[in-house]
């Protein structure tokens, strides 16, 4: 500590800022990429669950509506196909890199920039 002169605060601040700028976008880029490339099995697992759960919800809704309205098989058939469509939609959203969640649209990435702004000002 004695022989090593502590760096000046401005120097440290500048270095911190460059380091932060270097590190901060990195997880963002890596995150989008690490989704699919995480591991083959994990990804397949995710897609499978995505597909099946939407289908299950569709069939479940159809079954309940059928029981309520007394239209035995028909609504379940209709909602089976709707559920399958929703499942494929969810899978497509997962695969096309809209993130892990089946949101409707990619979150605007440009609002991340002003997120960094105030933080970078130290």
């Amino acid at each position: 500590m004695d022989e090593r002169k502590p760096p000046s605060l401005e120097d440290l601040d500048a270095r911190l800022r460059t380091a932060r700028e270097r590190v901060h976008p990195a997880p963002k880029a890596g995150e989008a990429g690490s989704g699919p490339s995480l591991s083959g099995i994990g990804f397949a697992f995710r897609v499978g669950i995505e597909l099946v759960s939407a289908l299950a919800v569709g069939v479940g809704i159809g079954w309940l509506l059928d029981r309520w309205l007394g239209t035995r098989p028909w609504l379940m058939v209709v909602f089976f196909f709707l559920g399958a469509a929703a499942g494929v939609l969810n899978v497509w959203r997962t695969v096309s890199g809209i993130g892990l969640g089946p949101g409707y649209r990619p979150t605007a990435e440009n609002d991340e920039d002003d997120v960094d702004g105030p933080e970078g000002r130290r």
Partner: protein, 240 residues
């Protein structure tokens, strides 16, 4: 040989009935309580000194806090700051439940679909209520993508609704399936070790590798659960 699924059995430790509902304190409740106490001790004892230069323990607590704080900021937006405590609690609970479940002989709480579904249900209902309070009836425009021709609405709206309703199922199923598959696999390989005698060393090596993988899965699934909660929050706050 014991079935690989026996480890998921629920035992009543202290029977209790409240108005005909079986509310016994089970081994599942016990390990949930352990997870909660563990998180509390880990964070409060770690931050007890609150030194400027953190020690190892304080660093762990701070890194986790920082990690989730950054996750909420980046994925849910700045105005989601108010929901950080919820996401952090959720993440820590799942993380500890997963990790404690990996201790040999312990019970893995998150390998029961009802537990993960309850967690996902809270997230789903909460996020939907937030969206409804924030946007009122405009929330329902969420189910019709913009610029859709009106004659497509009868087809697209049910699909979007189903896609939305599938969220808690996916969320809970993913955590549950990962945990259960991992624990079952470990048990199956452990069974091989006993049966094969001296050659059991090979499955033993596999178990060691699998165990490391399970540690990764435990971390990863807690992370995925938290990040999906953040993304749903983002949707609720900004509606696309």
């Amino acid at each position: 040989m014991a079935s690989p699924l026996e480890q998921f059995e629920i035992h009543r430790l202290a029977p209790l009935k409240i108005g005909g509902i079986d509310a016994a304190f089970t081994n599942s409740s016990l390990y949930m309580a352990i997870a909660v106490v563990g998180v509390t001790l880990f964070l409060t004892l770690g931050m007890r000194k609150a030194a400027i230069i953190p020690g190892r323990w304080q660093s762990m607590a701070e890194v986790l806090y920082d990690f989730i704080s950054g996750m909420v900021r980046d994925n849910a937006g700045r105005d989601a700051r108010a929901y950080f405590p919820f996401v952090f609690t959720l993440f820590m609970f799942i993380l500890f439940a997963n990790l404690i479940g990996l201790i040999p002989g312990a019970f893995a709480v998150t390998s029961h679909v009802i537990v993960t579904f309850a967690l996902a249900g809270v997230v789903f209902v909460g996020v939907t209520l937030i969206a409804l309070f924030k946007h009122g009836l405009k929330f329902f425009s969420y189910f019709l993508p913009p610029d859709t021709p009106l004659y497509m609405a009868p087809l697209l709206v049910p699909i979007e609704v189903i896609s939305y309703l599938a969220r808690p199922i996916t969320l809970s199923l993913r955590l549950f399936a990962n945990m259960m598959a991992g624990h079952t696999m470990l048990h199956v390989f452990a069974g091989f070790v006993i049966v094969l005698g001296i050659f059991g060393i090979a499955p033993m090596a596999v178990i060691v590798a699998l165990y490391v993988l399970e540690l990764l899965v435990a971390l990863l699934q807690a992370y995925v659960f938290a990040i999906l909660t953040c993304l749903y929050l983002h949707d609720a706050l900004h509606l696309h």
